[in-house]
Symmetry: C2
Subunit: 340 residues, 2 copies
Amino acid sequence: MSEKNQVTFKEIAEYTGFSKTTISRYFNKPATVTEKNRKIIREALDLLGYQENKVAHILATGKTEYVGVIVPNLDLDYYSSMLDRILKTYNEFGYKFIVFVGSNDTAAEERYIEELLAYQIEGLIIMNHTLPSESLCSLSVPVVAIEREDRFINSVNSDNYLGGIEAASLLTEKTCDILIHLNSPTDESIPASQRISGFRDYCSARDLRYEIMIRDFGYSHEEVYSHAKAAFEEMETRYPGMKKGVFCANDVIANYLLGQVIRKYGGLTPLYRIVGFDNTPVGVKAPYSISTVDQQIEVIAREAICLLMEKIRQKRTGDPAARVPIHKTVTPIVLRREST
Amino acid sequence: MSEKNQVTFKEIAEYTGFSKTTISRYFNKPATVTEKNRKIIREALDLLGYQENKVAHILATGKTEYVGVIVPNLDLDYYSSMLDRILKTYNEFGYKFIVFVGSNDTAAEERYIEELLAYQIEGLIIMNHTLPSESLCSLSVPVVAIEREDRFINSVNSDNYLGGIEAASLLTEKTCDILIHLNSPTDESIPASQRISGFRDYCSARDLRYEIMIRDFGYSHEEVYSHAKAAFEEMETRYPGMKKGVFCANDVIANYLLGQVIRKYGGLTPLYRIVGFDNTPVGVKAPYSISTVDQQIEVIAREAICLLMEKIRQKRTGDPAARVPIHKTVTPIVLRREST
DNA sequence: TTGTACGCGTTATCAA
DNA sequence: TTGATAACGCGTACAA
């Protein structure tokens, strides 16, 4: 090792004449060290340039204060906003985050998890959906899912069903001839599929004319763009001259749809009312702001961390409740903006 | 500790009858263990459910394979794209990332760094600009800056000067009456300030009519929006009927400006040619795609990691070159899209 | 209030 | 090819 040998408790102990234990106590139980001696130690620490070594601390205590995070990508505003809010909880809770951005590859994701476990993370927050919760639940640390299949693991989700209802309700305020919901094929196990149910139930309960257009919008911008364009053209041909109220599965789709409307009509038109979902930045970057169902990403992120910490605590204390998955729900809020 | 006692080398050793040393060798120098014994160990590992413990490994070797990352926020596409690409280098280099998203608070940022150092990171990638490179350079680990003041530390930046030239050049292809550059007040020490110089030099060398509009666009969406709007209105009053070629400091500003143009003119107009900077997703989400100067974020991210790894190596081998900051530059590429 | 002795899980050294 | 022993830096009984 030609590394600059770092200053340890040993050096501080030798310099001050105390034992390593006392130096340790200076940090962990300062009250048990006399003020006079604390001062001596403080000065030695300063003078020798001591720098905390958490790795040794972890090995001794078993507490890493690490949380692993796996997120599908950071190109979609939804995920980057969520990660942003998750990382910011450091200021409140002190947990550090080791972050992986996931491919859609199961093997790769398993490697990420292996690696995270090797680093002794205390818990895992997962937004990826390649691994089923059935296999996730047997990990040695608590797992909290956000907006993904969550049958066997803890989770925090937006109240998607209510969101679907509210979106439909917002659109009917404006007397549309037909209500349309645009979404990707979504398995029922995924929380977001409830947006469809909420929308459908609302419409059918009121005998409203509606249609659910399921198209595989994909993930890349190119894909979403071209499918949104195709959907727009389809609506144009099939419902010419009709007032269309369109509820999009997320703000990104809503944005592209609005883009098509603008390209054709030069701006907003009474023929289209558009509402998105998530409340991500993309909704306020468009030339006309897009109404949306605000998932309250910040609240979800915070709840996820709180839930994870509670589960970590339960696990540590041997509470049998640790094994019972908890599913939290955050109530979304409708944001009325220019697109409706 | 009521923790599920994890399986260690000790248990494997006892079970197989080998010593801990041999188990360790099984992982690190498998060639020195006979195939027969490797099989025995492999089966015991499987049976007992051994899980690697990197913390102990780190304490023994001193190598964490951690890199710290500090990024200002993840709401701006530029930062989230960059972080995305940085995190993805795991697949190639194996380094793990502990990520902090920074406030503008100096004290907070210092806390982040303290914490990262305590966790024995091997290097730091920093995009925040609250701490001067002068204080960063004295850290005990190599630091690589991306698009921030970098006098005393390593850095990877886009060739901003060339980018400014290319943007201006693209606009003149289209015969504008006046060229305008929109930017925030930018200190000369910040690489991005070179975009201004490049633009200015290009215009003045060719005797083109141009103006550099410096406005404090801020960071939040609201701020950028309102300042872009104000700038648009100013251009409308001051240069009515003239063909304006506008080079925006980034895609976000370009997007809002285009938004204003659309709101007023119902779409593209020969009166405005717009080019942004960065090539972030926002440029292709607008109703009309926005021309931009592509920073090649993926290349920058990769170069940053390579540079950091080289510096880590130099430091480990005691190479005096470790202390000499290296500044790398990545050549940007002009992307012609609808807005020009 | 302080110190001794040992443990955390792994690697490195040196012998065998 | 394998094993005993001592690190790595810190926490914690227990004793003083």
